[in-house]
């Protein structure tokens, strides 16, 4: 790295100021507030709060509701990540084979990413709403008892599909780029070596996509953990009977609906630790292990 010396002492800081302000206001300040709140307990009327040490954390980790929420989150995140990545990979490999009009396909496939989470949630809610949804109607017509408002598993499927659908575009973009980065001669060498179709995909293409796949796995897990609040809020509201209440949704529910600020803050601190761990995992492990050249 070449070190550059700015003759002006003030300008560099001015240039960095917008980013610094944003980070401080929207990250450091709320994060410090969460840390502070997580060791306090409010009285029932919100008049005063007292220091309780790690009592909030002990309470959360001993609470079956929290552990249930953790389990819901893991199931939801893994299912969302795997479903969206699998579909994106399928679409990307298909789009890679298309010769005529490939740019049109690609552009169309990228559109869902531009849809806001809450709107994406509403779309799926309307389609599968037991009372008025077209698909709900079709499912029932075919003898399938469809009622995500009562059946927790069905509600889970609905939010998973909605969350995965929105993420497919993003994964698709990365997979297409990953596929394009594989030298054509490798594919040709494999075809001369007698590997065709699925065999070639699993022995050559997929291993070479590993860096992309690992990167996306982390990104999608983070997405499913933290960015799906809008979808869950719009589609199920965490229900029925907390069947789709993920950790982030529980932070919101406990803090802003039930006004248990101490517990909510402690939960968000745990989430913060999870993000840090995931990011560290990506940098330490993924970046080192799965790159080839």
């Amino acid at each position: 790295m070449q070190s550059v010396v700015f003759p002006n002492k003030v300008l560099p800081y001015l240039l960095l100021a917008p980013q610094i302000v944003l980070t401080v206001v929207f990250f450091f300040w709320p994060a410090s507030q969460a840390l502070y709140q997580s060791v306090l307990r409010e009285d029932p009327f919100g008049l005063k709060s007292g220091f309780v040490g790690l009592a909030n954390f002990r309470a959360i980790l001993a609470n079956p509701d929290y552990l249930h929420s953790l389990q819901v989150t893991v199931v939801f995140s893994l299912a969302t990540a795997l479903l969206s990545m699998a579909l994106a990979l399928l679409l990307a490999t298909s789009a890679d084979r298309v010769v005529r009009g490939r740019n049109v396909y690609r552009t169309l496939l990228i559109w869902p990413y531009a849809v806001a989470p809450a709107v994406a949630g509403m779309l799926w809610l309307f389609m599968f709403n037991p009372a008025m949804g077209t698909f709900a109607y079709i499912l029932r017509r075919n003898g399938f008892v469809w009622d995500p408002l009562l059946n927790g598993n069905q509600a889970m499927w609905l939010v998973i599909v909605a969350a995965a659908w929105k993420q497919i575009s993003y994964n698709f973009l990365f997979f297409v780029a990953g596929l394009q980065a594989i030298p054509k001669s490798l594919i040709e060498a494999a075809s001369i070596d007698g590997a065709r179709g699925t065999k070639r995909f699993w022995t050559i293409v997929f291993p070479l996509l590993a860096p992309t796949t690992f990167f996306l796995l982390v990104v999608n897990t983070v997405y499913a953990f933290f960015d799906t609040f809008g979808i869950i809020h719009a589609v199920t509201g965490g229900g029925p009977a907390k069947a789709t209440e993920t950790l982030v949704y529980k932070v919101y529910n406990d803090g802003f609906v039930n006004l248990d600020l101490g517990s909510s803050a402690a939960q968000s601190v745990i989430l913060m630790i999870i993000v840090v761990a995931l990011t560290a995992f990506q940098f330490r492990f993924v970046e080192k292990r799965v790159h080839y050249s």
């Binding site: 030298p183 001669s185 490798l186 040709e188 060498a189 494999a190 075809s191 001369i192 070596d193 007698g194 590997a195 065709r196 065999k199 022995t203 050559i204 291993p207 070479l208 590993a210 080839y292 050249s293």
Partner: protein
């Protein structure tokens, strides 16, 4: 082991015809080099034999079997790519084994073939390394190994040495030739480097603009180029060409030298020209060159100059040049060193 036959092979991209009807017979065990400038279609031709490009006309036969619509894997060929195309996620051993495993070769046989190939190519110490841990030359050997273990009917080489430095390129050239001889496998080799082509080939195929210009042994092509294109492409520095209508403008030809009627082009190689001694016999070809550049290339010197009419002429002298820039030098060549081409650029006589 097999012969390869191309019969009027064509390839069009839309309305553009890239390969304009190529016919070629390659004998069993022969080392044929396709050579030509970039974009002439030589790589396309090779890829068509491999089955990586479809053909739009004609027939390709490998070992007497028509393979026009046969998958690359079913053609019983192995290819060495310019960038080696080694599978980066596999070890060298796995790279070599991949093609055999796909063909359901018994694992004892795979081990035996890998051991033999590794010994021949001296890559035994690297068998358990990944390609990224190898140098360019080692990767090149592994790529060769991947072709050898398959024991195919033919090897196809697509400019395999162009990513190596000059010294290594020279070494690998000799090794490839030796290997091909000992295995006796039919080989087709593509290069744009005429030096590489000359040293490797049993037979050379000069390709230009999607057509074959000439086929022959390196010596035939050097001594009797069929067209002006081949004449200038084979040999370095390339052959001097002078237009017949300019005769007397700085050069002359003895009257008894056979020449085509009408317009013609005269070719003479720089190495066939030499300064004329004042009292020596009069040569068939004579020219007076004003020297404007001297290159000392080791054991010999190349003198660049211009004739009175502005035509460029290069000639070669051994050792250091005794002339200086600006000197007018009289050079000559004997009748058997002259190449005559008619107005269409085809060889005469």
């Amino acid at each position: 082991m097999a012969e390869i036959t191309l019969k009027d092979v064509r390839k069009s991209y839309g309305t553009v015809e890239a390969i304009k009807g190529v016919s070629l017979d390659i004998d069993d065990g022969e080392f044929v080099v396709l050579v030509g400038p970039s974009g002439c279609g030589k790589s396309t031709l090779l890829r068509m034999i491999a089955g990586l490009e479809g053909i739009t006309g004609g027939d390709i036969l490998i070992g007497g079997r028509q393979v026009n619509d046969v998958e690359p894997a079913e053609r019983d060929i192995a290819m060495v790519f310019q960038n080696y195309a080694l599978y980066p996620h596999m070890t060298v051993r796995q790279n070599l084994a991949y093609g055999l495993k796909n063909r359901k070769t018994p694992s004892a046989e795979i081990d035996r073939r890998i051991a033999a190939a590794a010994k021949t190519l001296e890559i035994e110490p690297y068998l358990d390394r990944k390609p990224r841990q190898l140098s360019g030359g080692q990767r090149q050997r592994v790529a060769m190994g991947r072709a050898i273990v398959r024991q195919p009917a033919a090897f196809l080489f697509d400019e395999p040495l162009s990513n190596l430095d000059a010294k290594l390129r020279g070494q690998m050239r000799i090794e490839i030739k030796r290997l091909q001889r000992s295995l006796g496998t039919t080989s087709v080799y593509v290069t744009h480097d005429q030096m590489e082509a000359m040293t490797l080939a049993d037979r050379l195929v000069v390709v230009s603009a999607g057509r074959i210009e000439q086929v022959g042994t390196p010596l035939e092509l050097y001594e009797k180029p069929a067209t002006t294109f081949v004449a200038t492409f084979i040999g370095s520095p390339s052959m001097n060409l002078l237009h017949g209508r300019d005769a007397s403008a700085g050069w002359s030809l003895a009257p008894d030298v056979a020449r085509p009627n009408g317009d013609f082009t005269l070719g003479v190689r720089p190495e066939d020209l030499s300064p004329i001694l004042a009292n020596g016999p009069a040569p068939a070809f004579e020219a007076t060159v004003r020297v404007d550049g001297i290159e000392l290339v080791g054991a010999e010197s190349l003198l660049h100059g211009r004739l009175e009419n502005g035509s460029e002429l290069i000639f070669r002298v051994s050792g250091r040049a005794r002339n200086a820039i600006g000197d007018a030098v009289k050079v000559g060549a004997s009748a058997d060193a002259l190449h005559m081409f008619d107005a269409n650029g085809h060889r005469f006589g």
